[in-house]
Amino acid sequence: MSGSYLARRLSSALFTIALIVVVNFILFRAMPGSPERVILRGTPNVTPAQLEAARERWGLNDPIFPISFEEAGVVVSADNQFFKFVGATVAGDLGYSFVARGQTVGDVLAQRIWPTVILFGLGELVAIVLGLALGAYTGWRRGGGVDLVGNGVSLVLYSTPYFLLGMALLLVFATGLRWFPTFGMLTAGVTYPDLGARLVDFLAHLALPLTTVSLGLVGQYAIVMRSSIVETLSDDYVTTARGMGLSEGRILRHHALPNALLPTVSLIAINLGYVVAGAITVEVVFNWPGLGTLAVEALTARDYPVLQGVFLLLSVSVVLANLVADLIYGLLDPRVRT
C-alpha cells in the first residue's frame, strides 16, 4: 500500500484525536463548579487557604490558553491550563473520580473496559459475518420471498432501539423461559469450583446482551450490504462476467462481493459512532458492568471527570477503529492506493 495513503489517514486520525482532547478541555472548563471539585474530591470543611493552595497546585490561577489578552497587553505563556491539561491527558492522568473515593479516572476505566470490549467486540463480529451474508444473499436474489421477509425484518430491527430489543429478550428468555440470568456478568456472591464453571456462568450471562447487540447491528449491515450488491448488479463488469458464461456463484463471489464490500466497509466505519450509543444502553438494560453502565452511573452521580474519561476513551477508540477500517478499505480497493 502506498505510504502516502497510510500517512494521510494516520495524520487525519491524529488530528481528530487532538480535536477530541481540545473538546474535552472545553468541557472540563465548562463543568459547573468543576475545577474546584476536581481538586477537593468532595473533601468537607475546606478552608480558603487550602482552596488557594490547591488552586496554585493545579495551576488554576494560570491563564487558560497559551495566548491571552490581559490588561497589560497580549501575553503568551507556556504556563497555562490548556497545555497542562493536554500534557496530563497524554500522560494518562485524567483526574480523580468525584464518586469513587481515592480512585483515579484511569483506575475506574480500567476496571470496566474489558466487559465492554468483549461484549461489543464479539457482537460486532457476529453481526458482520451474519449481516454481510444475509445482505449479500438477499441482494443477489432480489425480489424473492426471502428478500422481502429479510428486508422487512432488517428494516424493523433498524427502527428498534437496542435497549428495547434487550428488554424484550430479557422478558422472554430470562424472566419468561428462565433460560438465562437477568443481569450482570457473573452471578453475585458465588464461588466457582473451577475456571470452567466460571466460564459457563459468564457465557450464560453474556448470551442475551450479545444477542441484543448482534441483532441490532445485523439489520443495519444486512441493509447496507444488500444495497451495495444491488448496485454492483447493474455494473458493467457483472454483465461482462455473465456474458462470459460464468456461474452465478462465481460472479457473486469474485466480482460482486469484492466491489460491494467497499461501500459497506465505509458505512460500517461511519456507523461506529452511532453504535456506541446502542451499546451503552444494552449494558444498562442487562446491568453489564462495562463502560456503558459506568457512563450512566457517572451521569446520574454527576461524576464529570469519569464521564469525560469515558468520552475520551470511547471517542479515541472510534477514531482508531475508523483508521483500521480505512486501512482495510485501502487493502480492498486499489484505486485509493495511488
Binding site: T239, G245, S247
Partner: protein, 369 residues
C-alpha cells in the same frame, strides 16, 4: 470442464473443444456437438425482442433477420434507439431483466440459441460468441488485475490451470498490443485505449467464432479509434474471426466491414455489401442517413437533418415504421409492412418503392384517388 453445462444435455464436455493452443494462430475450428453440418455460422431469423415497461410492451426488435458467414465482418448501423444493441444482446442473451425474446430464431451453426434455457446458453457464451461492450472502459472489474480478468474465462470456461491461463492471457495482451508486463496493472492505471484493447483480449480468451463489438470506439478519441479498428482488422485476418460491429458511425463500418445492416425502429431497412449500400443506397432512410453525414470535401451547406423523431416503440405505426418521416412515403406505406426484396447485387431492402421483382430503381405506386 465447462461451467454451466447441465447434466444430461448433449453439449460438448471436455476442454478438447476450442482448446487454447497458442494465441494468435488460425486453426481449423472444432464445431460444438450439436452443430448442424453445412449450416452457416450465424443465421438470425425474424428475431423479436420485446421489453416489458409497466403495463406497456416496447417492441424494440420486431422482425430482424440476417446472416453471418465465417470470416465476415457485418456492421449494424442506425440511430440511437433503433434496436441495434438489443439485437446484439439478444444474440448472447444478455438482455436486461424486463426484456424477452418473444419470437424468431438465432441459429449458430444451425443450433437455435433463442430456444435454449438460461443455463444451456451459458455453454455458448464466450466460447462461440463473445461481446465487447459499449463503454467497455467500465466493463473491467476495478479491483482485479487486468491479466487475471483476461485469464478468468480461460480458467473457468476452458478448465485450464492458472499458470497456463496466465501465460495465455499474457499472449492475448501482447496480441492486442499491450505489453505483457502491464497485465499486472489495475484497470484504472490504464488509458482508455488500453482498456478497450484489454476488453478485446478478454473477448478472444476462449477463441470464439464471433466477436460482437457494441460501439467499441465511441468513447475514444479519433487517433485511438483508428488504432482499435486497425487492431480488429488484423485480428480478423490472423485468427479468422467473424465480426459484428454495432455503431452509429457509418465511417467505421465503411472502413472495417464487408456488409452492413441498416436498422430503423426495430426493423431492417436495408442490408448488403458495404460498397453497394454506401454508393447506391436504396432505402430512403439509408439515403438520409448517408446524407446526414457531413462531408468534408463538399461545399458548405446546411446539415441534412431528418425531420421528426423515431416512433414510440410501445405503439409503433402500422406498416413501414419510417413512413411518418419518409419524403417518399406513399399511401400503402402506412398500411402494409414492406416485404424484404433481394437484388442481384446481394442488397436487401424493405421498402414499398422496391416491390418484388423490381429492377433496383424506385417504383412509386400511384396514389389512390
Amino acid at each position: 470442464m465447462t461451467t454451466g453445462a447441465p447434466a444430461g444435455s448433449a453439449t460438448s464436455a471436455g476442454p478438447a473443444t476450442n482448446s487454447p493452443g497458442t494465441a494468435g494462430e488460425r486453426r481449423p475450428r472444432t464445431l460444438p456437438k450439436q452443430a448442424v453440418p453445412g449450416a452457416p455460422l450465424l443465421e438470425v431469423d425474424d428475431l423479436r425482442t420485446y421489453f416489458a415497461l409497466g403495463s406497456d410492451t416496447v417492441r424494440a426488435v420486431d422482425g430482424v433477420s440476417f446472416r453471418l458467414d465465417a470470416g465476415e465482418a457485418l456492421g449494424i448501423a442506425g440511430e440511437s434507439g433503433c434496436g441495434k444493441t438489443t439485437t446484439a444482446l439478444s444474440l448472447v442473451r444478455l438482455l436486461p431483466g424486463n426484456a424477452r425474446i418473444v419470437g424468431g430464431a438465432v441459429r449458430l451453426y444451425g443450433i437455435d440459441l433463442a430456444a435454449k434455457s438460461d443455463t444451456a446458453i451459458r455453454r455458448y457464451r464466450w466460447r462461440e460468441i463473445s461481446i465487447v461492450f459499449q463503454g467497455a472502459m467500465n466493463a473491467l472489474n476495478p479491483v482485479t488485475r487486468v491479466r487475471d480478468q483476461v485469464a478468468e474465462p480461460i480458467v473457468e470456461r476452458l478448465g485450464v490451470g492458472r499458470r497456463a491461463a496466465n501465460r495465455r492471457a499474457g499472449d492475448l495482451l501482447e496480441l492486442v498490443g499491450i505489453p505483457r508486463a502491464r497485465g499486472s496493472a489495475y484497470p484504472h492505471e490504464l488509458s482508455g485505449g488500453m482498456r478497450q484493447r484489454a476488453m478485446i483480449a478478454m473477448a478472444l480468451a476462449c477463441d470464439p467464432a464471433i466477436v460482437i463489438g457494441d460501439e467499441p470506439t465511441t468513447a475514444l478519441d479519433v487517433m485511438v479509434q483508428a488504432q482499435i479498428l486497425d487492431l480488429l482488422e488484423r485480428l480478423r485476418e490472423r485468427l479468422g474471426l467473424s465480426l459484428i460491429l454495432i455503431t452509429h458511425d457509418l465511417s467505421v463500418i465503411a472502413e472495417t466491414c464487408d456488409r452492413v445492416l441498416i436498422m430503423y425502429a426495430g426493423r431492417v431497412a436495408e442490408e448488403g455489401p458495404v460498397g453497394e449500400v454506401f454508393t447506391r443506397p436504396r432505402h430512403p432512410y439509408t439515403q438520409k442517413l448517408l446524407a446526414a453525414f457531413p462531408n468534408i470535401r463538399a461545399d458548405r451547406r446546411a446539415l441534412d437533418v431528418i425531420p421528426g423523431s423515431p416512433p414510440d416503440l410501445r405503439t409503433p405505426p402500422p406498416g413501414c415504421r419510417f413512413a411518418p418521416r419518409c419524403p417518399a412515403a406513399m399511401a400503402v406505406c402506412s398500411e402494409v409492412v414492406p416485404p424484404d426484396v433481394r437484388f442481384a447485387d446481394r442488397v436487401r431492402v424493405a421498402c414499398h418503392l422496391y416491390p418484388e421483382g423490381s429492377s433496383g430503381e424506385p417504383v412509386p405506386v400511384a396514389a389512390t384517388p
